[in-house]
């Protein structure tokens, strides 16, 4: 059984998917959700960040939520992430904000301390979020699955900044990687590997972000904007990537009459190939969100901005719509994030 947590512009929906059948339930009715993070080593436990209503915690697989991290006060929380456990201690919880700052909690979200070294990165004076270029935010946080001291932070828009000592000191952005980091992933079967879906290109690193290779082979030139990306939990060489022509037609908030998006799959070193066979149509859909439960090989979910949920159990080869958000929730509430609860690492 999988439960998919959909972060909305106004709360959280929880969708249970059992035996190829899905049913949804609203589990939080406020907060512009910016991210949800499941503790893969304690999978009934998850955290959510919101832009306007603080941080939230669930310990029952997303069924009920309560505030956490309240001592941080009112901030614009842009991202939350969880590192792997270390030496029997609880997993460290990381929270990012706008303006860009990073906080860490070693007591399961009760208290946080700022990792102030991020403010001293030389490129910081150039960071700027295009719609509000006088500010910027932490948009991705990725902790190495093998070494909890390695943290990669994606600034929108400023690049990928990395720490190899638990956040005390930081390496500035490296060339080649896209400075507009939308999605950044690691893989529990591929040490030192990073996957980045950026605003203008996709790239990978095999050395913790020291060097990068851009790869849009097979993707038509008119597609120039990329966002969500996921890697097959069972195969680090199978990636799925959303694509659009421009930010204005591709973003989740694009008006249906202007929206246009698609998605591609790359296997090994072969060129990217467009997804078909049941995947949502180009027209009328901004880019949605890919999700997996990190351990079920070949299985993916995809949710459109308006909340239609699709499932694939053959590495993205074919897709089937399994649920519609409009059945229980206002269609105007856009999906802003998707995460799957589920099994811990084997």
């Amino acid at each position: 059984m999988s439960a998919i947590l959909l972060g909305l512009s106004d709360g959280i929906l929880r969708v249970e998917y059992v035996d190829r059948s899905a049913k949804g339930e609203r589990v939080l009715d406020h907060g512009r959700v910016t991210s949800i993070a499941v503790d893969r080593h304690e999978p009934r436990r998850a955290y959510a960040s919101t832009w306007d209503h603080g941080l939230w915690l669930t310990t029952d697989d997303g069924r009920t939520w309560s505030p956490c991290g309240t001592r941080l006060g009112q901030r614009k929380f842009s991202r939350i992430a969880i590192g792997p456990p270390s030496d029997g201690k609880p997993s460290t919880v990381y929270v990012g904000t706008e303006p860009s700052a990073l906080y860490a909690s070693i007591d399961r979200g009760l208290t946080f301390v700022e990792l102030e070294g991020l403010q001293r990165v030389p490129s910081r004076t150039e960071w700027a979020f295009p719609p509000r270029p006088y500010t910027h935010h932490v948009w991705t946080i990725t902790v190495d699955p093998f070494n909890p001291a390695i943290i990669h932070v994606g600034i929108e828009l400023g690049g990928i900044i990395s720490s190899f000592d638990g956040g005390q000191t930081w390496r500035d952005r490296q060339p080649i990687a896209d400075p507009d980091c939308h999605t950044l992933r690691t893989h529990h079967k591929a040490p030192n590997r990073l996957y980045e879906a950026g605003g203008a290109w996709y790239c990978e690193s095999r050395d913790q972000g020291e060097t990068w290779v851009r790869d849009l082979d097979g993707i038509p030139d008119q597609l120039r904007y990329f966002y969500s990306m996921v890697v097959d939990p069972g195969d680090p060489d199978v990636r799925l990537l959303t694509a659009a022509k421009t930010p204005f037609s591709g973003q989740y908030g694009a008006a249906p009459e202007h929206a246009w998006s698609t998605a591609y799959r790359k296997i090994g070193n072969h060129p990217w190939q467009e997804l078909g066979k049941g995947f949502p149509p180009h027209e009328g859909n901004g880019m949605g969100w890919f999700a997996s439960d990190e351990v079920t090989p070949g299985e993916f979910f995809y949710v459109t901005p308006r909340g239609d949920l699709y499932h694939s159990d053959d590495q993205g080869e074919s897709w089937r719509r399994v649920w519609e958000k409009s059945a229980i929730s206002a269609p105007s509430e856009l999906v802003r994030f998707a995460e799957v609860t589920g099994s811990p690492f084997a």
Binding site: T125, E126, W127, A128, P130, P131, R132, P133, Y134, L157, G158, D178, P179, D180, G199, A200, W201, R214, L216, D221, Q222, L223, R224, Y225, T246, P247, F248, Q251, G253
Partner: protein, 133 residues
Amino acid sequence: MIIDPAPLTQETVERLRFASLAMAQPPSGQRRWVQLGLMRKACDILDSDLSSVPELLRQGELTARQAELLLKIGSEYNRIRSETDDVLGEKMAGTRSFMWSDTFNNEDWKALHQVARECYQILSQGKDPIIND
């Protein structure tokens, strides 16, 4: 693109606000805006509307600080433009690889970015003409 003259009203301020947003973009944002035609539009607005700034200040449509920053954007932009015949890199902007170039990523543009970011912040007052999140 030719921008029709606008009356000296809040509409003119809105156009200048858009131009300041364009000039405030990070380099990769500006490269994308070149491809979308938005940087050209912003440059045309600077050409047509910056001369209105003193009158907008006199009418109370702009504060002294807003007017000062808008004029500084104009002077920085004109200085960069005087040194090249392709200020936006439009000659090579047609393909996706333009997004991977270093266009707008130099010290002159960095100085313009900083001025424009301060200007846009005080002009926007939390509103944005393109994306509401």
